[in-house]
Amino acid sequence: MFETSPVQQPVQPPRQSLAGRAYLVRAGVSLGALILLVGVIAMAAAKGETHIPLGTVLQTIANHLWQAGYDVDPIDAGIIWNYRISRAMVAAACGASLALSGAVLQALLRNSLADPYLLGISAGASTGAVSVAILGFGAGMVSLSLGAFVGALVAFGFVALLAIPAGRGAGAIILAGVAGSQLFNALTSFIVTKAATADEARGVMFWLLGNLSGVRWPDVYLALPVAVIGLLGCLWYSRALDAFTFGVESAASLGVPVRRVYVVLIAIAASMTAVMVSIVGAIGFVGLVIPHAARFFVGTRHGFLLPASALIGAVFLVAADIVSRIILDGQVLPIGVITALIGAPAFAIILCHGRVLR
């Protein structure tokens, strides 16, 4: 039997102050991932149909950033700066945003399978974007993004409404998400089949699988701020996300304003996904797999997990884009094909090792 008087036992103090250890881990992982990100973006600028030496890439970047005045072939410089760097920047922003959305949704819904793709947000954003692009409610980037954004919110609202009478549980919301995704994908197909010309349909189908061709600097000016603001917004709530470890009630008992956190963070996740889908189409598996990979490296505390997810997601998508451009000679694969080809086996490995779901 246990002693009734409070027994003082020696508790080993942490090997190092928790704050100090955490800081070192974060600094190390962030620095490593940042260097990796810069490296992979430089690679993305060098690789492609015409191979350009890395030195030329660095000179071009230096010319643009601080008028270094290196002598670079203007055609090479144009390819690097106007096509490849902008494309890599958008890929990075997109990977970071999708991975962040996944990490946040997994924490809030207490479900390792939550990601914007599974919850119908991506499907809804596609439907919205396609209605704008084909049915033509105004033209231009902002209205396409707006269409995707509205579509994403409508789809998520639909999923949430379906999940509430189904029991609010994490399982219910995933099933509702599957139903929502199917519905909105069907709507997208319906709109495409009914209203689009054959050329439009082909373009849309390519775009739905994720397409970074045709991405230019104006897209960067939209995607990058959204990713950065999204990251800061999520980081602001990182302690609140930690408090959800043992569920909603436990978060509430730890002083977290549960409803506000839900609304703000789901709005951030839906907005980020909507903007990214409107620029590059629906790219699967990033939001699902990357947060699990990040957890493997830095653990579950969101102060580290969120930046790590964002950085790893960015690196992953830029790398996937490089592969999609060079794997077939003279042809570009939709990037969603690459992410799924890598993501599905990676997810299977994670599942089987039981590192995540136990």
Binding site: M1, F2, T4, S5, P6, V7, Q8, Q9, P10, V11, Q12, P13, P14, S17, L18, A19, A22, R110, S112, R239, A240, D242, A243, T245, F246, G247, E249, S250, A252, S253, L254, G255, V256, P257, R295, G299, T300, R301, R355, V356, L357, R358
Partner: protein, 266 residues
């Protein structure tokens, strides 16, 4: 500092779950909450803990309505341990306990050595010190429950609320946990299923039935044959030992003698 419910009702949608509950928790006591399944114990506990706002009436902490105090401040005064809170995250015991410091942390007051010390102290007080660096999913049910209590203690609460803390534990761990909680220097409110445990550990007992608080008093006042038959639908004799403690002896086949209570869904 006091914790009080005044004529509190709470509805789930249009359905009344509890109504007209008035209760004042006295400082330093161990208050047990008993009642059949679906009698509203859990709902009452979560209103008392400030997790749910009452639909009618008032929940007060220190004579101030909880609504005005705010979640974060409430969490510095009230620690709450739910039934069976679990996680699939791979976290250490120390990290799980550290979550209890959430209401004290912000961007301006980040984690410090002081918080580390409070976590160590809480772990020691539930005798889980040697487990600090173990992974959560390797713990047994009783160990998990102790870690939850340690987490609530790092909130440095005046009141510790426990919702059926001994569920799914074997008898050895049930008694060990309740003895440990009783020895803690905080006011405790615990929903308990086992009436003999309520008799052994509680200073006062609140008895609920059908969403109402129907009786409040010492174990000897509450745990009577009459009450057990009326509320729980069981036949039992109550023996009082020479230290004035009640012991309940149930009779087999007692379901037939009393009015059969329907098992309502909580």
């Amino acid at each position: 500092m006091s914790l009080e419910l005044r004529n509190v009702g709470w509805n789930a949608g249009f359905k009344k779950i509890i109504s007209d509950v008035s209760l004042r928790v006295t400082r330093g006591e161990f208050l047990g909450v008993i009642g059949p399944n679906g009698s509203g114990k859990t709902s009452m506990m979560s209103v008392l803990g400030g997790i749910r706002a009452p639909s009618t009436g008032q929940a007060l902490l220190g004579d101030q309505p909880m609504k005005k105090i705010g979640r974060r401040n409430l969490a510095r005064h009230i620690g709450f341990v739910e039934q069976q809170a679990d996680t699939i995250d791979r976290i250490t015991v120390r990290d799980a306990v550290a979550l209890g410091r959430t209401p004290y942390l912000s961007l301006l007051t980040p984690w410090s050595g002081h918080d580390d010390a409070i976590v160590c102290e809480a772990l020691a007080s539930v005798e889980m010190g040697p487990f600090a660096d173990r992974m959560w999913h390797t713990l047994s049910g009783g160990e998990k429950q102790r870690v939850h209590i340690a987490r609530a203690l790092t909130q440095q609460p005046d009141f510790l609320l426990l919702d059926e803390p001994t569920n799914h534990l074997d008898i050895h761990h049930q008694l060990g946990l309740l003895e440990l909680v009783r020895a803690l220097p905080v006011t405790v409110v615990a929903a308990l299923h086992d009436l003999n445990h309520a008799a052994m550990f509680c200073d006062r007992i609140a008895m609920m039935d059908g969403g109402k608080l129907i009786a409040l008093g010492t174990p000897e006042q509450i745990l009577t044959s009459q009450n057990l038959r009326d509320v729980f639908g069981v036949a039992a004799d109550i023996e009082i030992d020479d230290q004035g403690r009640c012991h309940i002896r149930y009779h087999a086949g007692s379901q037939k003698t009393g009015p059969i209570k329907k098992d309502r869904v909580a």
